[in-house]
């Protein structure tokens, strides 16, 4: 039995892409395999680690818990879409670089998208709020301290 394929139009980082995928194609896989946007990382594939977090209409969501076919009506932003228009690092990316907010980098795309949306909602977080902002993302390397610093630095850079 050949699997039914669906024509799906995805809007990612402002560009429109047409792909033909089975309904079971996870959005994370569509981004990585079909669109070759491998910045979005996949860790646990059941919603726990946060590495696959993208922005859907500006809100952070797990791309491993959505199907590409369900993403048609939305504007998607991945880590590739967080740079400044001239291609230089966006404020959250810049802050991670300055604060040593990453080591292996596996978790980083999920943190960057989550923090970008978090700072949009709360541009001047307290230390506690900065910690809370990243509480749904896991990092095995850094011990989080430098990521919290990066949240605070990104808030400064964006202000």
């Amino acid at each position: 039995m050949s699997e039914e394929l669906h024509d799906v139009r995805l809007t990612v980082n402002g560009a429109t892409h047409e792909i033909r995928v089975p309904a079971r194609r996870l959005l994370s896989d569509a981004l990585r395999h079909d669109l070759r946007l491998t910045g979005t990382h996949v860790g646990c594939e059941h919603g726990v680690c946060g590495a696959c977090t993208i922005l859907v209409d500006g809100e952070p969501m797990r791309s491993c818990l959505m199907f590409a076919v369900s993403a048609v009506d939305h504007e998607i932003t991945t880590v590739e879409g967080l740079t400044n228009p001239d291609g230089s690092l966006g404020p959250v990316q810049q802050a991670f670089a300055e604060c040593h907010g990453l080591q292996c980098g596996f978790c980083t795309p999920g943190f960057l998208t989550t923090i970008t949306a978090g700072l949009r909602e709360n541009p001047a977080p307290t230390h506690e709020e900065a910690r809370d902002m990243i509480s749904g993302n896991l990092c095995r390397c850094t011990g989080y301290q430098n990521i919290v610093k990066a949240v605070e630095r990104a808030a400064e850079l964006s202000s």
Partner: protein, 285 residues
């Protein structure tokens, strides 16, 4: 970690969604997917068809119902809030109306997963998913709320007391779609409270408790202590005996997350804590 193949339907109306479900015995509703997609990816579920309800308009309502509109008794004497099937946890949590009319809903939602999961997951989905470790089924049960469902035979209202049958098992028929959940308002002079203990903030709780105090009536609902959300009536029990009185009705399980003894201790601590805090709220009112 990839779902098995399934057919996908994305109906634009409720009627169409119901008819697809009715014609396919092995179909499942897809709402926020925050519980269903992990089950599919781990292949703990492999339905033949998924009926994605996200394109149906009008299901994302969050509305308050005044006491005046509640005359027929269906909505209780003080009115309440109705939450549609596509209202995301995050939207319900952010609603000032919900917080004002029934603060227990907002108190409990803060403990449901992380913000990112709440952006996609629905409150109605978490109720009909009927996980005994979840917060919102207990809240609905404690408040005496209900779920409105639509099936081939039309609409019906299922009271929370008849909704939860077993682990992950609700009394919805396979071809019924939950349209909304109804949480009765907090009565004047009554108080509520919620608390839970989890290993990490945002994790499913080892034990959670919600209290409702109204005059002499003291009732506490528990999550993660049995197969279904459980409510215990503790009216008239002396403060020092609350925990033991609750445990007489509960049989906390032993599992990889916690021992039965530890859970029993959490029941004692949380019961006292939530009853005290609900009383404080009632007295301040």
């Amino acid at each position: 970690m990839k779902p098995a193949p399934f057919a996908y339907r994305r109906p634009g109306t409720l009627a169409e969604a119901v008819s697809v479900l009715a014609g396919e015995p092995d179909a499942k509703v897809l709402a926020g997917g925050q519980s269903l997609v992990p089950l599919l990816s781990m292949r703990l579920a492999s339905p033949a068809t998924l009926v994605d309800i996200n394109a149906i308009t009008g299901l994302d309502v969050i509305e308050t119902i005044d006491a005046n509109d509640a005359v027929d008794g269906q909505y209780g004497e003080h009115g309440g809030v109705r939450v549609g099937a596509l209202a995301r946890h995050a939207a319900v949590l952010a609603s000032p109306d919900v917080r004002r009319v029934q603060p227990l809903v907002s108190m409990a939602l803060q403990h449901v997963a992380h913000a990112t999961i709440r952006n996609r997951g629905t409150t109605v989905g978490s109720i009909v998913h009927a996980d005994a470790a979840a917060e919102m089924p207990v809240v609905l049960r404690l408040l005496g709320g209900s779920v409105e469902v639509e099936g081939p035979a039309g609409r019906r209202t299922i009271p929370a007391s008849e909704l939860f049958l077993g682990p992950l098992q609700s009394s919805l028929a396979h071809d019924e779609i939950a349209v909304s959940a109804y949480f009765p308002a907090l009565a004047p002079g009554a108080g509520v409270a919620f608390d839970e203990i989890a290993r990490r903030h945002g994790d499913y709780a080892l034990v959670g408790a919600a209290a409702h105090v109204d005059g002499e009536s003291v009732r506490v609902g528990y999550l993660s202590v049995g197969d279904v959300p459980t409510v215990v009536d503790l009216s008239g029990v002396a403060d020092d005996d609350l925990g033991e009185a609750a445990l007489a009705h509960l049989d906390p399980p032993d599992d990889i997350h916690a021992t039965a003894d530890y859970r029993a201790q959490l029941v004692r601590v949380l019961t006292t804590r939530v009853v005290r805090s609900a009383r404080d709220m009632a007295e301040d009112a």
